[in-house]
């Protein structure tokens, strides 16, 4: 008798999802599906609006990482205007983007995944949450809150508010950074750096006790995608698109992000609202013969986000993060890449360190308080693509406008969407490892959920296409 197990809802992620696990007659996992069950519709309802409004509108896609959308959207707007934004504006945008990465990664590590990592995957579900963490490890929980506060505070100092600031606009930013606010950022930095150092030590100490997880939680070869600086360094705001394979072979050394369509395709499935982006050149190899396999595009699976960014870059670019990156790379066999999604946690902490170091550097830049921060122009290009690295991965905004700047077509590939194939694969791998005809307990289901948490997905953000897809998969007995 086959059986379906449903985990609904998946908790401690941003957004709503459920997982179904199909068991065969022997109680072995036959297949798994990670369903994203919410629908937003941004691509459709933005049509007819002006591209000037898009940073404000698309920031509403998310309350955790509105800044990422502000960046990508404003950059797409810059492209439509055809302007180079003032250098100070670019530095300020970077500053906010780094702050955003710090706060979002802190949330993921301390609050969403921390309870699993510190209290145990199988601990009492009633206390396996941030409140339980506060009870048992008050210092860790407090540190998490403080670190997140640092990021949010920097965002607020720049943009006037920490969530949905209307500060990044096509052509630059709205307000410069004051001397006073620069000093505030400077004063807050040492504590944030200390907390990050402690968290890195804590995770590295704990790695030994997570050998099973390391081996089975999303440990498979895949491609990796991320932005890099022109010389190959770690990059979050601008730069070139690089794609490498699991062995570290570079498939796309540095593609201009506006050409992303040439290498990224999107597939849809009827059982989830989240699209499946894939790397075209690899996936198209599966499209041979008259009736290609329904999963033909799976060959183009790639991962994005902290793990991918650390895998695609040649170096980080700041002293402490580079030192950590060297240690991190020793997790993989010589000349290979870190293929275990479990190490997203580790990569996240290294990125926090990198962002803090970059913030520290940038606030000392004498030109950072210049007040020339906005370029003015009219519509000069009818298509604009803005690409940036959101905390969860590469984010694409593509706008097609008419000569008045009214949107005719919008395409958004949200960071989490890029990881859709990998998340499904991870769920299946964990389920196959833990469920083998034996009795199921809550701890096992939580482990499967943790597979999703590794990617820190933002599901509410990533479902935006329009269309009707029935969502009717429930607990079903084959008989």
């Amino acid at each position: 008798m086959t059986k379906t197990i449903t985990i609904d809802p998946v908790t401690r992620i941003e957004g709503h999802a459920k997982i179904t696990i199909l068991l065969d007659d022997d109680g072995q996992v036959a297949d798994t599906r990670f369903h994203v069950v919410e629908f937003r519709g941004f691509e459709k309802f933005c049509e007819g609006r002006s591209f000037w409004e898009m940073p404000g509108i698309t920031a509403r896609i998310c309350g955790i990482c509105p800044i990422s959308h502000l960046m990508a959207s404003a950059k797409a707007g810059d492209a439509i205007l055809g302007v180079n934004i003032p250098p100070t504006a670019a530095k300020l945008r970077r500053l906010m983007n780094w702050a955003q990465t710090v706060q979002s990664h802190a949330l993921s590590f301390f609050h969403l995944s921390g309870p699993d990592l510190l209290l145990g995957m199988d601990s009492d579900p009633a206390t396996r949450n941030v409140m339980g963490l506060i009870d048992k490890y008050p210092d860790v929980a407090r540190n998490g809150i403080r670190l997140r506060r640092f990021g949010q505070k920097v965002i607020a100092l720049l943009g006037g508010q920490s969530i949905h600031p209307a500060w990044t606009v096509p052509g630059g930013v709205r307000d410069p950074l004051s001397d006073e606010n620069r000093s505030v950022i400077r004063r807050m930095l040492p504590e944030a750096l200390d907390i990050t150092g402690l968290a890195l030590d804590m995770l590295k100490d704990a790695l030994d006790s997570y050998r099973d997880e390391e081996a089975m939680y999303g440990n498979f070869p895949s491609l990796f995608m991320g932005l890099v600086t022109p010389d190959g360094g770690l990059e979050h705001y601008d730069g070139l698109l690089r794609i490498v394979d699991a062995d570290g072979n570079v498939l796309e050394p540095g593609l201009t992000p506006a050409r992303y369509r040439e290498v990224i395709g999107e597939a849809v499935e009827p059982w989830t609202y989240l699209k499946f982006p894939y790397y075209k050149p690899m996936a198209l190899r599966g499209l041979t013969g008259e009736s290609p396999h329904p999963n033909w595009y799976h060959a183009g699976m790639y991962r994005v986000g902290p793990l991918a960014r650390l895998n695609v870059c040649d170096f980080a670019g700041t002293p402490r993060a580079d030192a950590e990156l060297r240690v991190f790379r020793r997790l993989a066999p010589r000349s290979k890449l870190v293929n275990n999604s479990f190490h997203y946690h580790y990569a996240r902490l290294i990125e926090i360190l990198f962002c803090l170091e970059r913030i520290a550097e940038t606030v000392e830049d004498p030109s950072i308080t210049n007040d020339r921060v906005r370029s003015h122009a009219a519509v000069n290009n009818l298509v604009g693509v803005g690409v940036s690295e959101a905390p969860r991965g590469t984010l694409f905004h593509e706008y097609h406008v008419n000569e008045d700047g009214i949107l005719q077509k919008v395409n958004l590939i949200i960071a989490t969407g890029n990881n859709n194939l990998a998340m499904n694969r991870t769920v299946k791998q964990i389920a196959q490892f833990h469920i083998n005809g034996k009795k199921l307990d809550e701890g096992v289901l939580n482990r499967i959920e943790h597979g999703i948490r590794l990617y820190d997905p933002c599901l509410s953000c990533s479902t935006h296409a329009v269309g009707h897809m029935p969502m009717v998969v429930e607990m079903v007995d084959a008989n």
């Binding site: 609006r49 000037w52 409004e53 009219a378 009214i406």
Partner: protein, 242 residues
């Protein structure tokens, strides 16, 4: 002009005969919500927010188009009036797509202000969600019909102050729309002088400066008083020597 005496909210006040009730109320410090009224423009009585109760008259009257008269007994904030004002505001919000969070006038909008002031915290009616376009063909300004409340301030200021009469209203009822010239893209209008008066008097984010982003628009009405005072004192007259 003769002076009349009337009672407003149980207090005796005097006013000039023929003076609009709205101006009498405001002279006496009574706050009245308005959206279509703007000092300096002709009255339209369209938004109905300034409605008052007159004793002996079963129908509510818009104070902006009702002249003060001897012996009038006026009530401005009865339960019934507040209920109707709330209803009017809710209907305005449900009629088009007012999304304050991403609007250029967020924080400076008169519609938003009136709704907040009266305590409107939700809309009881179904939103109509009409599919309305945005016209950004003008070089400097844009009109977003989603945010228009058909107050016709733009129509009146363009006709009465600028003298161009670019704007007008087309259609009927909830389907009405403000149009430029003969319902053509604003950017192709031959009569528009690009003076921007319509933008400055618009109470919402329907008319705005192109390129403005969320909460970035602030509108100035004081030019109206300045122009009209000058007109009264004939400082604009030809051959004035100034």
């Amino acid at each position: 002009m003769a002076v009349v005496t009337l009672t407003i909210n149980d207090e005796m006040v005097s006013a000039q005969e023929g003076q609009s009730l709205l101006s009498v109320l405001r002279e006496h410090g009574i706050e009245m919500p308005t959206l279509c009224h703007l000092d300096g423009l002709s009255e339209r009585g369209g938004c109905r927010l300034c409605m008052v109760e007159l004793e002996g008259n079963a129908r509510l009257q818009a104070a902006c188009v009702t002249p003060a008269a001897e012996g009038m007994m006026v009530h401005t904030h009865s339960e019934r009036l507040v209920k109707y004002r709330m209803m009017i505001l809710e209907l305005l919000f449900s009629e088009r797509n007012h999304v304050c969070a991403v609007c250029v006038m967020n924080g400076n909008c008169e519609l938003q202000y009136e709704a907040a002031k009266i305590g409107m915290d939700h809309v009881r009616y179904d939103y109509l969600n009409p599919a309305l376009p945005m016209d950004a063909s003008h070089e400097r300004y844009a009109v977003d019909h989603n945010r228009c409340i058909l107050c016709s301030r733009c129509v009146r200021v363009c006709d009465e102050i600028e003298g161009a009469h670019v704007w007008d209203v087309m259609g009927r009822g909830a389907n009405s729309r403000v149009i430029t010239d003969l319902n053509q893209p604003w950017g192709t209008s031959l009569s528009c002088t690009s003076c921007g008066k319509c933008v400055q008097v618009c109470p919402t984010g329907a008319l705005f400066t192109k390129g403005a982003t969320v909460a970035e628009m602030e509108k100035q009405h004081d030019f109206l008083r300045w122009i009209l005072d000058g007109r009264e004192k004939k400082v604009w007259a030809h051959g004035n020597g100034k």
